[in-house]
């Protein structure tokens, strides 16, 4: 019996060591994860250590309310620490890309673990107090506690993170906690009420964590966000394209098939340059057509003209217009433009729509993806522009987003030539959009008169008449070295130019 007592005594001290190691590991996992995911490691580590220690303090304080069945409670707390701490890294990785209140989850989890860990030592000391002298007990418990902390802080950076990774490390220590709980539940079953129940719970939890441990890589795959600079807040494959939205503290970016469409930080430069030169030159415009532009950002600019009575938007992908009509982050950027009463949205192929269209518009904003393949290339052809011309009123103006005249001058001037071949008078211009680089637009008109660019809406952030004058000047490095051929359905030169120029540029 004496030897039995002694073994229990050493067992409990071994538990102290393990508990201390586990406790510090959870703290380190949380700190590391927070600095990975949120950046600013000094801040993350400081706050996490602070919150964790504070929560431990709360745990210690709460320990006074545990008066009966201390051993049973201790086992329960072990199981809970094993569960919460063990899954902490998994929970944080999975929640990060999908949850908006990541901080709440992070600190909530840290706090909960801290409280539970804070309960462990005081309870254990009270369990031990009848079994050994107070002075000896304090010295032993704290020695094992601090030795455990040392073990954790050495093992964590040198062995655990490189070998196991964060998810497996936290699961591994969770299983140690559970193991302690289960062992005690078996070993001291006569002193514990409902030992059977605790044993079963412990084993089930242990098996769960074991499975999670085995599938840690798949869990990591689910949370692909670590491979991005910014975190992916939305991604979906529609019938026609893959939409991805990333976000960091400063900006939100939209990608279609991996190509950047806009960054919230400077998209106003692009959309103001796309819309206002044409619309400000047509103060009497009543009907405006937008082809492409399902993000609603061009529409947001058009709404600034009170004279416009009807805006018709034609975008291929219903998923795109739905997303930008309903998603809070996105409607904050387009200012709910897609829900404007003047706007009619039609999800259709622009070419087919134009061919069957009989309406005339005062202005047409053409905001298609770059002509990177033959399917999109059709939307930049002479035939397409002839239908576009038919959709314009006699004084109407169309404007076409026309890729980068710096990276792809042949492509840019090919669009200009194609519009001229279709019978348009053209006015090419360009501006600087930091996230895109130097960007080009071609204005296409039925008649020769030079538009008047003196009046722009008052609330613009980028465009004024002086800027407009500057946008129409092309420095020599943006002029085509050769005269490009027009892009036709039966000879899509533009797609070849585009491919050639952009692949050369990206190779550098």
């Amino acid at each position: 019996m004496v030897t039995g007592e002694k073994r229990t005594h050493w067992l409990l001290l071994a538990a102290v060591f393990a508990i201390a190691t586990c406790g510090l590991i959870y703290e380190l996992v949380a700190g590391t994860l927070a600095s990975y995911l949120l950046g600013d490691s000094v801040k993350q580590f400081s706050t996490i250590i602070g919150v964790y220690l504070f929560a431990m303090g709360i745990g210690s304080f709460l320990s006074r309310y545990f008066q009966r069945q201390l051993l049973s409670w201790f086992v329960r707390i072990e199981l809970m620490v094993g569960l919460v701490g063990g899954f902490s890294a998994t929970i944080l990785f999975i929640c990060f890309p999908i949850a908006s209140g990541f901080g709440v989850i992070l600190y909530g989890l840290i706090g909960l673990t801290g409280v539970l860990v804070g309960l462990e030592i005081p309870l254990l000391m009270r369990i031990l107090k009848d079994r050994m002298a107070f002075d000896k007990m304090v010295s032993q418990v704290f020695s094992f506690d601090y030795i455990g902390a040392l073990a954790a802080s050495i093992l964590f950076p040198l062995l655990l993170v490189p070998q196991l990774g964060l998810i497996r490390t936290s699961l591994f220590f969770g299983m140690i906690n559970l193991g302690i709980g289960i062992y005690l539940a078996f070993h001291l079953r006569r002193n514990i009420k409902r030992a059977m129940w605790l044993q079963t719970t412990g084993v089930v939890l242990l098996l769960t964590e074991l499975i999670a441990f085995a599938y840690a890589n798949q869990i990591m795959d689910i949370s692909e966000s670590l491979s991005y600079n910014d975190r992916v807040v939305y991604s979906a494959s529609t019938l026609y394209q893959r939409i991805a939205i990333t976000k960091n503290k400063k900006e939100l970016r939209l990608f279609l098939n991996g190509n950047l469409q806009f960054s919230s930080i400077d998209e106003y430069r692009y959309h103001e340059a796309l819309v206002h030169p044409a619309l400000s030159a047509m103060p009497t415009a009543r009907k405006v057509l937008v082809l492409g532009g399902g993000d609603g950002l061009a529409v947001r600019e058009i709404i600034k003209y009170p004279g416009v009575e009807k805006i018709q938007l034609v975008d291929l992908d219903p998923a795109m217009t739905r997303l930008f009509s309903t998603q809070g982050m996105l409607t904050a950027i387009n200012q709910l433009s897609l829900r404007n009463k003047k706007l009619h949205i039609e999800n259709a192929d622009a070419f087919s729509w134009l061919r069957s269209n009989n309406d005339r518009y005062d202005a047409v904003i053409v905001d298609f993806p770059d002509p990177s393949n033959f399917s999109i290339g059709k939307l930049y052809s002479v035939t397409f522009y002839k239908y576009l011309m038919r959709a314009l009123t006699p004084a109407g103006i169309a404007v076409i987003q026309s890729t980068s005249p710096f990276v792809a001058p042949k492509s840019f001037w090919c669009i200009d030539t194609t519009l001229k071949t279709a019978g348009f008078e053209t006015l090419p211009y360009h501006n600087y959009v930091p996230s895109f680089g130097e960007w080009g637009y071609v204005m296409a008109m039925k008649n020769r008169a030079m538009p008047d660019f003196r009046k722009f809406p008052a609330n613009l952030r980028y465009l004024d008449s002086a800027t407009m004058q500057q946008m129409m000047v092309f420095p020599p490095d943006m002029k085509a070295k050769i005269k490009p051929l027009p892009n036709k359905l039966n000879n899509q030169h533009l797609v070849n130019y585009f491919e050639e120029e952009w692949s050369e540029y990206l190779d550098q």
């Binding site: 192929d349 087919s352 399917s375 059709k378 052809s381 035939t383 036709k488 000879n491 797609v495």
Partner: protein, 540 residues
């Protein structure tokens, strides 16, 4: 007990999976679709003189009867109608006019069952050009050159060839060829270029369209006495790649393997196209989702109601300066007799000989004509996986394959919203002599055709089995005559085009010798002119 049941359940699942897997491997997978039959059975009833229970209908009378609503028959009707001779009937066995240019249709698009494009027309064919203007194919003229409707000019990318493990641009073999082969192909192309420009002393083109306008001079005509393979040997063109390419070309245009194809005909394929356009090159083509049915429809738009379909003509005989025509109307099962002033016999020669009941005609036909059978399939597919190289084009050919590859019927649609395609798969059955190939084809099941097609396409689209949504197969027993050596310019054979008794006017592209739209068009045109001249002189 439960566990045992569970294990049994798992075991049966595995067995089911294994069976479905093995089905896939053997290509037994089922797709919606069928063997699409024309009125072949009724046609054979004519050959075998076996009909069901029939009655006799009322006799009819008309100034002109046109037998056959293929391109030559419709062209004859078009030119009569345009000249103000609006009283005629057109009889055809099939349920829709168009002949080899018929098309099908599903929810996605139309698709061709046969002829599906025309090259940019050569100059010097005013009647043809005028028709294309009226059809909206030519929109206007720039510097005297026709500007074609760019929705009808084949969109870019036009052609690709799968060769040496990669899709290359264009159909002329290039990727992975040894330098010697490339040089030979280049030399061959240069020779074809000079043939294209060649004219005789009187300024006649060496290789013209219509073919009858070609120079009669011996230096070119004698090319019709040898096969193109012999000609290649004579010119030290020994490249296997070149021979395979030419074999593709002669099978594509004439349903004839290179070894059986006249050198003159094969060279005509390369040297006859001289079209000039404001917005296209002589090698460009005009095409539509429904193929040449677009043109067939334009030809007969003004006289649709004069076309009687489902009518099997059994006899055409001259009678008292008129023509007596007997036919069975399939829908009423009634026999009719038409007395016509003139008859355009716009049917293939094997049918013409039977209708006219002339032994010498049947002998001539048997002596000269071999018709190649074709299998054509239309597949509705989702986007398949691709091998490396050029992307999906209008015409997609595998070098050295028994099929001619496939054409994307949805290529000319501007709609980017389509997530599926209709592709038309062409296969002239030239592995055996025509008669044997035809019998073998008629005895091949739908499932067999499907597994052949899938195996062929699988080489370039490994996941094609999972992409096919529907597949329909059609056989053409007598798709086109083969221009074997000595066929085209035989004086004896050309007697077949002479009018009979001044009232029956044979008109079919197989009289011209090669099955192209322009020949059929001019066959019909000439027949109409003979009738108009005769009617005018009868009046005065």
């Amino acid at each position: 007990m439960r566990r045992k049941k569970f294990i049994q359940f798992l075991a049966s699942l595995t067995a089911v999976a294994a069976i479905t897997d093995s089905c896939r491997e053997k290509g037994i997978r089922k797709y919606p679709g069928r063997l699409v039959e024309g009125n072949m059975r009724l046609g054979h009833a004519l050959r075998d003189q076996q009909f069901g229970k029939t009655t006799k209908g009322l006799p009819e009378e008309t100034p002109v009867a046109i037998i056959g609503a293929g391109i030559s028959g419709l062209s004859a009707g078009y030119h009569l109608y345009s000249a103000g001779y609006t009283e005629f009937v057109v009889l055809d066995l099939e349920s829709t006019p168009g002949g080899n240019a018929v098309a099908g249709k599903n929810a996605l698009s139309s698709f061709p069952w046969g002829a599906h494009y025309i090259p940019i027309p050569n100059p010097g064919m005013p009647e043809y050009i005028s028709f294309l203007e009226k059809a909206g194919v030519i929109e206007n003229y720039e510097n005297g050159k026709p500007a074609y409707n760019e929705l009808y000019l084949c969109f870019d990318p036009e052609e690709r060839l799968y060769i040496n493990g990669k899709w290359q641009d264009g159909l002329v073999p290039n990727f992975g060829l040894p330098a010697a082969d490339q040089q030979q192909i280049q030399r061959f192309m240069q020779m074809m270029d000079s043939f294209r420009q060649a004219r005789d002393h009187e300024g006649k083109e060496a290789f013209a369209i219509p073919l009858a306008r070609s120079s009669p001079e011996k230096q070119w005509r004698e090319l019709d006495n040898i096969s193109i393979l012999t000609w290649l040997q004579q010119n030290n063109l020994t490249s296997k790649y070149l021979a395979d390419y030419i074999n593709y070309c002669t099978r594509d245009d004439y349903g004839t393997p290179a070894k059986d194809c006249s050198a003159w005909a094969a060279i005509h394929y390369f040297a006859s196209r001289k079209g000039i356009a404001a917005n296209a090159d002589h090698s460009d083509v005009l095409t539509w989702p429904e193929g040449n049915q677009f043109l067939a429809t334009k030809l007969c738009n003004s006289f649709k109601e004069k076309i009687k379909t489902g009518c099997l003509v059994t006899e055409v005989q001259p009678m008292n300066k008129k023509v007596s025509i007997t036919y069975l109307n399939q829908s009423s099962n009634q026999w009719h007799t038409i007395t016509a002033g003139h008859c355009v016999l716009a049917v293939p020669q094997m049918v013409a000989a039977r209708l006219l009941k002339q032994d010498n005609r049947a002998d001539l036909k048997n002596k000269y004509y071999q018709y190649s059978p074709w299998m054509i399939a239309n597949l509705r597919i989702s986007k398949p996986a691709e091998r490396s190289g050029a992307g999906m084009s209008w015409d997609n050919v595998q070098h050295g394959a028994p099929s001619l590859g496939y054409v994307d019927a949805t290529h000319q649609l501007t709609d980017n919203a389509l997530t599926e395609k209709n592709i038309t798969y062409y296969h002239p059955l030239t592995d055996q002599p025509p008669n044997e190939a035809r019998i073998a084809a008629y005895n091949t099941s739908y499932e067999k055709w499907v597994s052949q097609i899938v195996a062929d396409l699988k080489r370039v689209h490994p996941d094609i089995e999972n992409c096919i949504k529907e597949i329909n197969v059609k056989l053409w027993g007598h798709a086109m005559p083969q221009p074997r050596p000595g066929f085209l310019f035989s004086e004896e054979r050309l007697q077949l085009q002479d009018s009979i008794a001044g009232t029956i006017h044979p008109a079919h592209s197989d009289i011209a010798g090669i099955s192209i739209f322009e020949e059929a068009f001019y066959q019909g045109y000439h027949a109409s002119q003979k009738i108009i001249r005769s009617m005018k002189s009868a009046k005065t």
